[in-house]
């Protein structure tokens, strides 16, 4: 059980350091609120055109996935600082499992999203979102798993590119097409056929669709299964790549 214990030690250290940054806490809590308050009203009159009766039931799941991806792909910035300070090397010379060094950090990122996501969903209800409670819970869990997968990838990326400048370039380069092509802000059903075809190859698009279905409480479809499968695949791939990078890295 030393693996779980090591993960816990790394997790608590990361959480302690993050909580001590007031800006990190404030922005983290404010982000979901701003999206909902400043962008939500724009969608409200469009609800009928979007094929739904409640804009928030459509919008909140998208935001959840956006927070999951965008927050987590940039976690590598902190890691690069830690490499520079020698923290990673000091941890790697202890007998702790390399996977624990990674997952302890990822656990903090998942907890961050858990709090942000909970605020988002509760606020969504306050704004008039309706939906299936069980579906919302399942969708929330999928978003947490997705966060874990993306955070793993973010750390692996940071250890590979090694500098903040290249990390920013690569992460932005990756997130922009994902944001545009996975129907996070507006569902891809609005898109012309060619654009839909392109978006179909993006796993995140299927996850967003699946989480929307779950939130709306529509019956379980093949699409929902795909969302679960894609999330599982991304989690496995993320942990595998992340651990491999942590093990191999000679930074």
């Amino acid at each position: 059980m030393s693996f779980v214990r090591d993960t816990g030690i790394v997790f608590r250290r990361q959480l302690r350091l993050s909580l001590r940054e007031p800006a990190w806490v404030a922005i983290g809590l404010l982000q979901p609120v701003l999206y909902l308050v400043l962008f939500g009203p724009l969608l409200k009159p469009l609800a009928a055109q979007l094929g739904t009766t409640n804009a928030y039931t459509l919008f909140v799941p998208g935001l959840l996935v956006q927070l999951a991806i965008f927050g987590s792909l940039f976690v590598g910035f902190g890691l690069i600082g830690e490499v520079r300070d020698g923290v990673i090397e000091a941890e790697r010379v202890t007998p702790a499992s390399r996977t624990a060094l990674l997952l302890g950090r990822v656990a903090k990122d998942v907890l961050t999203l858990a709090v942000q996501g909970a605020i988002l969903i509760l606020l969504g209800f306050a704004f008039g979102m309706t939906g299936s409670p069980i579906g919302i819970l399942l969708g929330y869990l999928l978003a947490l798993l997705l966060t874990g997968a993306v955070a793993c990838a973010g750390y692996a990326l940071a250890l590979t590119v090694k500098t903040e400048d290249s990390l920013a370039a690569v992460a932005n380069g990756v997130t922009l097409p994902i944001l545009l092509l996975s129907g996070i802000l507006l569902p891809m059903t609005l898109a012309p056929e060619w654009l839909q075809a392109v978006s179909n190859v993006i796993p995140i698009k299927h996850i967003v669709d699946g989480i929307r279905n779950l939130f709306a409480g529509t019956p379980w479809t093949a699409g929902t299964t795909w969302a679960v499968l894609w999330t599982a695949v991304l989690v496995i791939a993320g942990v595998w790549i992340g651990t491999r990078t942590f093990r191999r890295q000679n930074a």
């Binding site: 214990r5 940054e21 520079r84 300070d85 020698g86 000091a90 010379v93 202890t94 007998p95 000679n250």
Partner: protein, 320 residues
Amino acid sequence: MIHATGLQRTFVTKKGRERSVVTAVAGVDIDVAEGEIVGFLGPNGAGKTTTLRMLTTLLTPTAGTATVAGHDLLTDPVAVRRSIGYVSQSGSTGRQARGGEEIVSHGMLYGVSAQHATARGRELFDQLDLDGLWDRKTGDMSGGQRRRLDIAMGLVHDPRLVFLDEPTTGLDPQARANLWEHISDLREKRGSTVFLTTHYLDEADALCDRILVIDRGVIVASDTPDALKRSVSGDLVSLTVKGGADVATAATTLAAVSEGEVSTDGLQVSARVRDGGQEMPDLLRSLDIAGVDLDSIALSRPTLDDVFLAMTGRSLREDA
């Protein structure tokens, strides 16, 4: 404590399409006995840190085998990690983190309880003159304090073998002298074996029982600091005579006791003399008999820089 054979590490670098293999460490043999303080001396880029990273399981050797603290480096790296402490060049703590928290977290990663790690951490803070800094952010500590904290981090699990990578680089002279004391204490008070790298000659000289000289990935010498210095053909004796007329006589007299060349610079005549201190009374008598009117005489022991120069044909300082 350390037994390494043919340890080698190459890196592949890409320059455009051209791939070239760079040999950082070209097969070194290292033997360190329990309780020794051994210094790894060489210019920057000689392969010191690469060797250290291999011995501490951070880098997989391209070839060679090693037993570190009784465990095989390649087949049982976790057991090696458990028995060694490593103080790296780049530090070990987060700037925003507090000293005490860092050492407790670090200790716990070795499997001890929070309570035990705290007790051990407090003890080390006390021993390393860090009292009062438990709750200070490491980013607010001085360079010397942070370095001592790094050492405390490396000692939290009571390792029998401690690796220090350039422990005093970037410290002011006082902090260096202070740190040297703490490094000697590692053995005197705790019985640890210490393996350190340095490119400072005085550091290797002051701390180490034995010095391994590494240059371009190859160990070129291994001996005590004194023996290494003796291997440079003797001490430097410099005579300054009062009048130009005496220069030639002084040179001849000096040449009689020296195995090397005698060099003359104005009124100064110098040469290397084996066991210069013992030769000195005889030399003075001979000079007196020859009627040389001396202004001054100086004897200087060879430095490790002279050793390095003699072994590699290059000065250590050029690279450092």
